[in-house]
């Protein structure tokens, strides 16, 4: 499906020189007549949310950079909780590097989840871009494994107990589950071996994320960039050169993003941290309520529906499977929710549902919360397996804009604006 030659924007082996590497990163001009210029363009009707790909790349770079310097100062295995105090107090700027990494993980996931939701709303996972979507999901899974293994390293109470709680699900693998968990943890419970294992996994999976992101970006380049109208760009009027229009816009987005990140790191760095993690891990004292990192909570809630770890594992794998199958579960031929009157409210209901799922996952499994857990999990699968195909069948999309027409990013009057009057480009063409 991803290979359908719907557009002429297939992979073209153009000689990549140092000068045009940035342009070639996204789209190579197809050899067809529809793109008469020999340089990289992006659809002019991409919205602000399309910056979240770049922002995710910036987040990842910062995580790798801070991670390298943290790895130089982290002492594995002796007294991990004291190591964090050493990092925060004794290492020069250790507090900065550590808080950037700690808050940065949450920021990275916020950006990645916005990127994911953007894909759902604008239907960018549909042909010919199913591969981009699925590679994005692979990246997300690798990110979650990286975050899961990294969260143990501070060796706080919540690190310890949420690691155990999530490892329980892996024990649901038939026949070998218990052995697999023992093998990963290096023991029947968490110890020095678990710490060295997870420290190594954390670094290995971080590099796996970098690799997955590279393949994800390659897929965007090969299948063409999406846009908010879900209409393929076919004419010169539909696109703008990557440079300077998108470099400048993305540069501004990165600046705003870095300012917001700085506010988090310098003023509210512990926003995403659970209070119990300021206590050293104690294998004999269970916290009253085990809460994994917020970005794992919806999936954690799904695993908690079942008392049996095998069923829990099946449920969470199914939750991922429906995401991977989304390009086929969403049967509508129209991509963007801008032209899908029924899908639009359904999308927002789904977003609320996922937040509710995470909210339920953050509470103890008393009878009431367990009921809500199961209800929200049921609705999650109902959305993908029943609501989405149904909407595709009964919905009448509003008319799509015709490519190369004023509706595609142009003003309602029908006149194309000159480049200088486009939003965000004022002043670019005048010296």
């Amino acid at each position: 499906m991803a290979q359908e030659p719907q557009t002429a924007q297939g992979s073209v082996a153009a000689p990549a020189t140092r000068a045009n590497w940035a342009r070639n990163l996204f789209v190579e001009t197809p050899p067809g007549a529809s793109f008469p210029y020999g340089e990289t363009r992006l659809p002019r009707n991409q919205g602000v949310l399309w910056h979240f790909g770049i922002l995710a790349a910036v987040s990842l770079s910062l995580m790798m950079l801070t991670g390298v310097f943290l790895a130089m100062n982290y002492v594995v295995g002796v007294d991990p909780f004291a190591t964090i105090q050493y990092l925060m107090r004794d290492v020069s700027y250790g507090w900065l590097i550590r808080l950037m990494h700690m808050a940065g993980a949450s920021i990275f996931f916020i950006v990645a989840y916005v990127n994911l939701a953007r894909g759902i709303y604008y239907g960018t996972y549909k042909a010919p871009r199913a591969r981009i979507w699925q590679l994005g999901l692979v990246t997300l899974i690798l990110m979650q494994i990286t975050a899961y293994t990294g969260y143990l390293l501070p060796w706080g109470q919540m690190s310890y107990w949420s690691t155990l709680a999530l490892a329980w699900t892996l024990g649901g693998i038939p026949f070998v589950g218990h052995g697999v968990v023992r093998w990963i943890l290096g023991g029947d419970t968490l110890g020095a071996a678990t710490l060295t294992h997870f420290y190594t996994f954390h670094i290995l999976f971080a590099f796996a994320v970098v690799g997955a992101v590279y393949v994800h970006i390659r897929a965007i380049r090969e299948n063409g960039p999406s846009n908010r109208d879900g209409v393929e760009a076919v004419a010169a009027e539909d696109v703008l050169p990557f440079h300077p229009y998108y470099t400048v816009r993305a540069g501004l987005a990165v600046l705003v993003f870095l300012i917001l990140c700085s506010v988090v790191v310098f003023f509210i760095p512990y926003t995403f941290e659970h209070a119990a993690n300021f206590l050293p891990a104690d294998p004999l004292v269970v916290p009253s309520n085990i809460v994994p990192q917020w970005y794992l909570l919806p999936f954690y809630a799904i695993t908690r529906c079942a008392q049996n770890s095998f069923i829990a594992l099946v449920l969470v794998l199914a939750a991922w499977a429906v995401l991977f199958a989304l390009p086929w579960l969403d049967t509508s031929a129209t991509r963007s929710a801008r032209y899908r009157p029924i899908f639009r409210p359904a999308f927002w209901a789904f977003i609320v549902l996922v937040i509710l799922l995470g909210w339920a996952g953050a509470h103890p499994t008393t009878t009431g919360w367990l009921l809500l857990d199961r209800l929200f999990t049921l609705l999650y699968f109902v959305f993908f397996l029943i609501v989405l195909p149904l909407i595709g069948a009964i919905e009448t999309p509003t008319p799509l804009p015709v490519p190369a027409s004023p509706r595609l990013g142009g003003p309602a009057s029908g006149a194309w604006p000159s480049v200088t009057t486009l939003p965000g480009t004022r002043g670019l063409e005048t010296s």
Partner: protein, 194 residues
């Protein structure tokens, strides 16, 4: 399309060419400002990262180390660790004190009087850094049974340099005397290094 013909739309190569053709002073100024900001900003931002690799503050903290001198017999010395570095503390005999005071300073490679290397009123105690070579070698000679060299002080096992019992270099490749760390007498039998 009711608008102007595509030719008037500055896209693609036309736009790029247009943009290159007008290198006015305003654009130059903006480019230079941006470049300077990037250099200064990135340079500032990279410093905290590099600084994390410097010695950590707990190592560098001038935490005082107390040494009880009462347990050191005359003619012997001990080695203590201060800020991760070895410090030699030696109890000198009256003969050694006299010999050190009578050394002709002009003959020394690194000229220093014995008085300048001990605390006033405590000539029997000499406290010096034990690091004697560029590779972090620690001088031997604390125990009477150790090789103390021709001048009876310390010997550097790596370079072969010999020091007198005031810690001054007397032979071998070394150019400088063993340094004197900051320390003070808390009582007659107790010093605090740092």
């Amino acid at each position: 399309m009711a608008g102007p013909a595509p030719e008037t739309v500055a896209t693609g190569a036309a736009a790029a060419a247009h943009h290159e053709d007008h290198p006015g002073p305003r654009r130059d100024f903006l480019k230079m400002t941006l470049g300077a900001s990037l250099v200064v900003g990135l340079g500032t931002a990279i410093w905290p990262f590099l600084d994390t690799m410097d010695p950590s503050k707990n190592l560098m903290a001038r935490t005082a180390v107390s040494v009880d001198l009462a347990a050191i017999p005359v003619g012997s010395g001990i080695t203590v660790i201060w800020q991760g570095k070895p410090i030699l503390v030696r109890h000198r005999s009256p003969a050694e004190i006299t010999a050190m005071a009578n050394v002709d300073i002009l003959q020394l490679r690194d000229r220093a009087s014995d008085l300048s290397r001990v605390k006033t009123g405590h000539p029997e105690w000499i406290v010096v850094y034990g690091t004697c070579g560029p590779d972090g070698c620690v001088a031997t000679g604390n125990q009477p049974s150790d090789n103390r060299g021709k001048w009876g002080g310390w010997v550097c096992p790596c370079t072969g340099s010999e020091y007198d019992v005031s810690g001054r270099v007397r032979s071998g490749p070394a150019k400088q005397n063993l340094g004197v760390p900051p320390y003070d007498f808390v009582s007659a039998t107790k010093i605090t290094i740092g």
